[in-house]
Structure formats: structure tokens, C-alpha cells
């Protein structure tokens, strides 16, 4: 049985107080991490996290739990590397087992341009503090003997890979619950099954939120909503540079050997890792057409499996057990949008697209610091909402597009 349930963590409805200093919309990883860091680092505990469903029921429960920092621009590498290091200490900090497991991540490439791109990635990562090296095909075979370098003769042989040594996976539910429990122990209120229906403004200043359980006053409102962020931003009349796209993934039955790597291709694309249960987890890129539909499709299974099987032939005998979809908030430059907005007292943490899970500790820590001090921390300053109007685009789709 789940140790969180055994300890009787109280997540039931409390009568809401008429006002909180900070109301966080969205009880996923980012919202709970922000609350956790507000309470633990800054002593701000008059905080409510409002969640429409149950905590972790959105993208925090629909991702593929990959933690990595091998991005393509220094600002991103620094941010995600900080998050990767916070994840390494998260069990210690929360006192909860999140099933954190380090796994080297290989991104295979199949073209001369790809070889140049991944060599460049290794250099950028090394310069910005993340451990990534370039591997030749022979070196790949030595690290992951299961890889078929010929791609099963599909015309796209493996010409090399970037190898990100300190990548990891963690159990998504446990991350969410560890942060929720840590925040609640410190006095934060987490309200499940509470839908925000409107946001009250006085002039240009946020004063509270309307919910299906009544009005709750707020000194500050933070949207930590995933794919549905536009719905929240519409409530304050804020235009968002976000398009919502579905992303699917699936798992097979239990593979009886250990596969302690994450193997993907950035060019095809697809990626494969092994969950703590031993299932092989397979996914690819998000759907090109925007949608809020959570439907799973056979096209994804067929196309993605064909790619994965070509390079990891041992998957051929596996059976598909489960398939799911999440709705991702994709930004124009494939980088997150964090911090203040033109609406006074309304903060956003969005644009997490398909890359939000790995950023949970750092995203929450930095948002909490911003709320506590009123100053945007240096680490997230490049990812501000106003970067679009000032033509400071953090374009990094090649590093973010898959997982």
C-alpha cells in the first residue's frame, strides 16, 4: 500500500479561508513545487493550491519522467542542470523516496548534420555545466549492446550519439505527493476538486479567484496550469503565446532484463526507457494539429513502434499494455515562460510543453523566490513573458521537442 495513504495524509476539502497571500492554480508538479519552496525556503505558508481534479492528474501524471539537462542554448542548460541537481537531492529534502534512478541518455543521430548538431550539443552542455559527450557508433555499442546500429536496414544507420551521463528518471506520482505532503506539513492548503471559474481584478491588480466552491481572495495568483493555461489567462484578459498539442506515450509488458539507459533519436524521433516496474516506455513527438483531446491513437503506436524496433530489436516480442495522452502547452520557441505578466499580481509558469517534469524542482524553487522577493531570479530571467515583445527568443526546439 502507498505509504502516503498509510500515513493518512489529509487531502480532503477544508473550508477555504476568505483570503490567502498566494493562490496557486494547478496542483501538478510545478504548482506544488512552488508551494513547497514558498513554505520551506521562505516561510510563506498562507498559501492555497487549487486543483481541478486530483493532484498530479494532469501532465504531471502523463509524462515520461525523464530528467535531463542536455539542451542547446546555455540559458536552458544552466536552468535544467540546476533542476537535475535539485532532483538528486529531492529525496533528502522532502524525506520521501521518489525512486530517482540515474540513467545515461543517448540521442542517436543518422545524418552528417546530426553529427555536427550533437557534437555542438556536447560542447554547449560541457561549457554550461552539464555532462555530455559525443559517442561514435562503436562506443554506442559498448554502452548499449542492445542497439542495432544499422537500424534494421531502414536506411537511417546510427552515425553517432550525444551521451548525457547524469540523466535520470523518477516516479512521477511520488514526486507530486512528496512535494504536496512537504508543503502541507508546513501549513500550505491543497484543495482538490476545486475548479477556478474566474479571476477577480481591481483595476490592473488581481484580488482573488472565483471557484466552484466560492470566492477566495488572493494577494497574488500563480497559474501553474499545463495545457489549459490559455483558459486561465483569458480570465484576466492576457494573451498567451501558447498552442495546446496532445502528446502520447505507451508502455509494454515487463522486460525481464535491466535496461539502465534512455535511448532516443532526435531526428526520427522516438525514445525508449524502462520504468521501475520493468515496463518499456516508448514515446515520440507531440501531434502537429492543436487539440485538447486526450484520445490515444493507433497511428502513434504503429509509427513509433516501427522506429523503436528498428534500433532496439529486443522490443519486438513485447506487448503493449497501456497508452495515454496529455495536453501540452507549447510555446513558440520551445522554452518555458516563467514569472511576472502585465497583469499586476498574476504570475505564470507555463510553456512547459513536453519538457515540464524535469523542471519541477527548479521551476518551483525559482517561482517561489520570485514571489518571496519580488525580484525575478537571474536563472529564469531569460524566460520571461515579455521576451517575445522584446525579440529575445530562446529558440531550442531541437532540444525540447520529444521528452
Amino acid at each position: 500500500m502507498n505509504e502516503f495513504l498509510e500515513r493518512g495524509v489529509r487531502l480532503t476539502w477544508h473550508e477555504p479561508k476568505p483570503r490567502y497571500d498566494v493562490v496557486i492554480i494547478g496542483g501538478g508538479g510545478h504548482g506544488l513545487s512552488t508551494a513547497f519552496h514558498l513554505a520551506r525556503r521562505h516561510g510563506i505558508t498562507n498559501v492555497a493550491v487549487l486543483e481541478r481534479g486530483y493532484i498530479g492528474s494532469g501532465n504531471s501524471g502523463r509524462n515520461t519522467t525523464v530528467i535531463r539537462a542536455n539542451y542547446g542554448i546555455p540559458e536552458s542548460v544552466r536552468f535544467y542542470q540546476h533542476s537535475l541537481e535539485l532532483y538528486q537531492r529531492l529525496e533528502e529534502e522532502t524525506g520521501r523516496w521518489i525512486m530517482h534512478a540515474e540513467k545515461g541518455l543517448l540521442w542517436l543521430i543518422h545524418s552528417e548534420a546530426g553529427v555536427r548538431g550533437e557534437k555542438r550539443r556536447a560542447l554547449v552542455n560541457t561549457a554550461a555545466g552539464a555532462e555530455t559527450v559525443f559517442l561514435t557508433p562503436e562506443e554506442i555499442k559498448a554502452v548499449v549492446p542492445e542497439v542495432d546500429l544499422s537500424g534494421g536496414g531502414n536506411g537511417y544507420p546510427v552515425m553517432g550519439a550525444s551521451y548525457h551521463l547524469r540523466a535520470a528518471t523518477a516516479r512521477h506520482d511520488r514526486v507530486v505527493w512528496a512535494l504536496a505532503e512537504g508543503a502541507m506539513d508546513a501549513g500550505v492548503v491543497v484543495q482538490q476538486r476545486t475548479t477556478v471559474t474566474g479571476i477577480e481584478l481591481s483595476g490592473d491588480r488581481v484580488t482573488g479567484v472565483h471557484t466552484d466552491r466560492g470566492f477566495i481572495g488572493a494577494g497574488m495568483v500563480v497559474s501553474a496550469v499545463g495545457g489549459h493555461v490559455t483558459t486561465i489567462a483569458d480570465m484576466v484578459g492576457l494573451r498567451m503565446p501558447i498552442i495546446s498539442h496532445p502528446l502520447q506515450a505507451y508502455v509494454t509488458n515487463h522486460y525481464q532484463q535491466s535496461f539502465p539507459h534512455i535511448v532516443g533519436s532526435v531526428e526520427l524521433p522516438f525514445y525508449v526507457s524502462q520504468t521501475a516496474r520493468g515496463e518499456m516506455l516508448i514515446g515520440a513527438e507531440y501531434e502537429r494539429a492543436p487539440s485538447y483531446s486526450y484520445r490515444s491513437t493507433f497511428d502513434l503506436l504503429a509509427g513509433c513502434s516501427a522506429k523503436a524496433l528498428a534500433y532496439l530489436p529486443f522490443l519486438t516480442d513485447m506487448r503493449i499494455l497501456r497508452q495515454w495522452a496529455g495536453v501540452c502547452d507549447i510555446s513558440p520557441d520551445a522554452s518555458p515562460i516563467m514569472g511576472k505578466t502585465p497583469v499586476d499580481g498574476f504570475l505564470v509558469s507555463t510553456g512547459w510543453g513536453t519538457w515540464g517534469f524535469k523542471a519541477i524542482p527548479a521551476g518551483g524553487e525559482q517561482m517561489a523566490q520570485l514571489i518571496a522577493t519580488g525580484e525575478t531570479p537571474e536563472l529564469i530571467a531569460p524566460f520571461s513573458y515579455d521576451r517575445f515583445a522584446h525579440d529575445r527568443i530562446m529558440a531550442d526546439a531541437g532540444s525540447a521537442g520529444t521528452h
Partner: protein, 59 residues
């Protein structure tokens, strides 16, 4: 192939702000939205329609 149909709200008056909105900001409704689709393997022309993004049905 999918194409976005851009609309800048009339409430934005400043020409520079309108340019920023047109390039980056999106209505992204969880419901009916005007869309353009390119018929790649056929007539190779754009057609315009309204699709409900919460259900993926044409309306």
C-alpha cells in the same frame, strides 16, 4: 497539414503591440476554432473550416 488562422483582438491598438500579438500570441481555444488545412496528397490547396479542439470534430 495544419495552418493557424490568425486574429488580433481589436482591443489592441498600438501597431507594435499588434505585430507582437500577430507573430506570437494565439487564441488557442478549448472549443471551436477557425483553421486552415493544406491538402498535401491531393489538390495541394488550403481549405478553411472550423474544428472543435476539445472533441476533434468539424463544426
Amino acid at each position: 497539414m495544419y495552418g493557424e488562422v490568425l486574429t488580433v483582438p481589436d482591443s489592441i491598438g498600438d501597431p507594435d503591440a499588434r505585430d507582437v500579438d500577430r507573430v506570437f500570441m494565439r487564441a488557442n481555444p478549448n472549443g471551436p476554432a477557425p483553421e486552415a488545412w493544406f491538402h498535401t496528397f491531393g489538390c495541394r490547396r488550403w481549405s478553411y473550416l472550423t474544428r472543435d479542439r476539445s472533441t476533434d470534430d468539424w463544426v
